[in-house]
């Protein structure tokens, strides 16, 4: 622990730059999937534990398309569209029937979905760790102490473009307005002539497409494996719990915060990288509990 601290702040402060960059890359992906989770959670009150598996499914789709020889500008739209339709199908088969149920039911049903998706991907692609190699150059800085693959920069740019597009879509388009209206008050939205069922289906499919996009970026800059989804699920849950629903700037800030936190934890002890989002989640829940119990009033 002390050695690592010395290394970080005395001997080679440049490593900080590398860690911060890595944290930003992780945070960008977390932000996409966490935004989708917050959207579905806020609009239809479904807690999607399969979020990470949608990400991994998008990643494997990109991997498969890349092995067919397609370039990245083609892969991204194909994955977006097919994940959109996959999400719509999942909505019709599973999500639609648990909409008005107890909240725990949505957790369990999406857990079953997550199990199913992991295993189907495992059957098709096998349990090996895969990555999409885009054959792009790698930049070095500070005497080779910091490496920045250009694929990561491209991924960061794509994430930013997707995020801006999503925000504009939600603010400006009629569908985005309908989604926001439904989130505020489903009954009033129905009275005003919005087809709630279609809005829900669209929201879930939209979330699935967002996860698919995040998955494409994951497959380019990190590695994918059928059982890696839980990392992204837990990360997204931690981010949404920390940021609160329907608070987009907070979601983005806490996504980058958690990205940085996991990378720094991973630097000290590699096993901690997976435990970090869980630790953040529990800390946030405890903190809320303490602040809420302080506000609690009782008649004595």
């Amino acid at each position: 622990m002390w050695d690592e601290l010395q290394l970080l702040f005395v001997w080679a402060p440049v490593i900080n730059i590398q860690l911060i960059l890595e944290g930003i890359f992780v945070g960008a992906i977390f932000a996409l999937s966490a935004y989708g989770l917050a959207l579905v959670w806020g609009v239809m009150n479904i807690k999607n534990l399969a979020q990470g598996d949608f990400v991994i499914a998008g990643g494997y789709m990109a991997f498969w398309l890349n092995s067919l020889g397609l370039p990245l500008p083609l892969i991204l739209p194909i994955v977006l569209v097919s994940m959109f339709f996959y999400g719509w199908l999942v909505y019709l088969l599973v999500i639609r029937r648990i909409l008005d149920q107890d909240m725990f039911v949505s957790l369990l049903a999406t857990f079953g979905l997550s199990l199913l998706m992991q295993q189907v991907i495992n059957r098709i692609f096998g349990p090996e760790v895969q990555t999409v190699d885009m054959q792009l150059p790698v930049f070095d800085a500070f005497d080779n102490m910091v490496t920045i693959p250009s694929s990561k920069l491209i991924a960061l740019g794509l994430a930013a473009i997707i995020a801006i597009a999503v925000v504009l879509f939600m603010k400006k388009s009629r569908t985005g307005q309908a989604i926001r209206a439904t989130a505020q008050d489903p009954r009033a939205a129905r009275v005003l002539g919005i087809n709630i069922d279609r809005v829900y289906a669209f929201t879930f499919a939209f979330n699935s497409a967002l996860c698919g996009a995040a998955g494409v970026l994951v497959s380019i800059i990190f590695v994918i494996q059928p059982f890696y989804g839980i990392t992204y699920s837990m990360g997204s849950f931690a981010i949404v719990t920390a940021a609160g629903l329907g608070n987009l700037p907070a979601v983005i800030i806490s996504a980058f915060g958690i990205g940085l936190f996991t990378k720094y934890c991973g630097f000290f002890e590699s096993a901690l990288e997976y435990a970090a989002p869980v630790a953040v989640l529990i800390t946030v829940l405890l903190w809320r509990q303490i602040t809420m119990s302080r506000n609690r009033q009782a008649v004595r």
Binding site: R97, L108, L113, N122, M234, E269, Y274, A275, V278, L286
Partner: protein
């Protein structure tokens, strides 16, 4: 439920429990895991089904119990202590006499249960402020955190785990012995829950499930009720963990904290049988275990896909469970009588009883 329905069920279960391993000795350990599933599902239901606090983290106590019993069993009669035993990675094979082994095992199981109970009381001081899905996610986080913390402790072997002391006696006696412990634990947990939920405790628990704020306003000490329920679950999960650890013979993170398998199976079994009933989890655990073992042997390679589909279909399309379905189908068998003078109230109660 009246006794005339219960008697044949108990008789059938006793026949399965006693004659099963006699006629099918090859399946003894599989039937032992059946009782393990029954314990897990019933004790999960004490908090999850009856009280509405759906815990995904009961498996924490299973793992803690497993490690506690290993520490007790090894350190009780081996002078070097657990640290030396685990750092040798199984090359040290301490010679236990029969009496030493069985006393150690008994103390280990007891200690596992008590430590589970104590830890559940510690956890309950902050966990029960979380409600609904937050409790589920929080307890799941607890289980994951416990698993991650355990492998960083070198005293209990870290990631490489602990080899349990060897059982004195031949392999058939070994499986029969552990089978009997599992069976007895299942009976004990069932009798305890049956008695507990026939008292006012059951009414208070259901009141907490239906509306916690109102229950609190009515003067029910909700926190202590939740503590008792979780404590029972933790005690039995700890004991079961200790037995399963000895039954498998080797423990590490994957064996001790099977979050995606047993951690979810117990919830799925309770839901399949019908949560919030006494018999639902027992029935659900038996059916679930049979399906699971059949899938493992007949559909090897696709077993997880089958289980995922069962989980989704069960939760999405068949949520009330077997007992809930039976209650709707034959309400008079469950003592649900429609009183015409208070039709509205009673029919609502019939719905709630699911």
């Amino acid at each position: 439920m009246t006794t005339n329905i219960n008697l044949p069920i108990y008789a059938t279960l006793a026949v399965i429990g006693i004659l099963g391993p006699i006629f099918f000795p090859a399946y003894t350990l599989s039937i032992a895991f059946l009782w393990v599933m029954v314990i897990m599902a019933s004790t999960w239901d004490a908090l999850g089904g009856q009280m509405g606090y759906n815990s995904l983290g009961n498996i924490t106590f299973f793992g803690i119990g497993m490690y506690v019993s290993a520490i007790v069993q090894v350190s009780f009669f081996y002078e070097g202590g657990v640290g030396e035993y685990t750092s040798a990675m199984g090359s040290i094979k301490p010679e236990f006499t029969d009496a030493e082994y069985f006393i150690g095992l008994f103390l280990g199981i007891l200690a596992a249960g008590i430590v589970g109970l104590v830890i559940s009381i510690l956890f309950s001081s902050f966990m029960f402020g979380l409600r609904g899905p937050y409790f589920a996610i929080g307890s799941l986080g607890l289980a994951i955190a416990a698993a991650e913390i355990t492998i960083t402790i070198d005293y209990v072997g870290g990631p490489s785990g602990i080899l349990m002391p060897l059982f004195p006696g031949d392999i058939e006696f070994r499986s029969t012995f552990f089978y009997s412990i599992c069976f007895l634990l299942a009976i004990a947990s069932h009798i305890l829950l049956r008695w507990l939920f026939s008292t006012q405790f059951g009414l208070a628990a259901n009141a907490i499930r239906d509306d916690e704020d109102k229950a609190e306003a009515m003067g029910i000490q909700t926190l202590s009720y939740k503590r008792i329920s979780w404590g029972i679950a933790a005690f039995f999960m700890g004991c079961t963990g200790a037995v399963v650890g000895n039954m498998i013979g080797f423990i590490d993170k994957e064996v001790a904290y099977p979050i995606p398998t047993f951690g979810i199976f117990m919830v799925a079994a309770a839901l399949l049988g019908g949560k919030g009933t006494l018999w639902g989890p027992v029935l659900g655990a038996i059916i679930f275990h049979i399906i699971k073992d059949a899938a493992w042997t007949l559909l090897l390679g696709f077993q997880w896909i089958v289980l995922g589909i069962i989980l989704i279909v069960n939760i999405v399309y068949f949520q009330q469970g077997i007992m809930g379905w039976l209650q709707v189908k034959f309400p008079e068998r469950f003592g649900i009588v429609i009183d015409t003078s208070t039709t509205l109230v009673d029919s609502q109660r019939g719905d709630d009883a699911r």
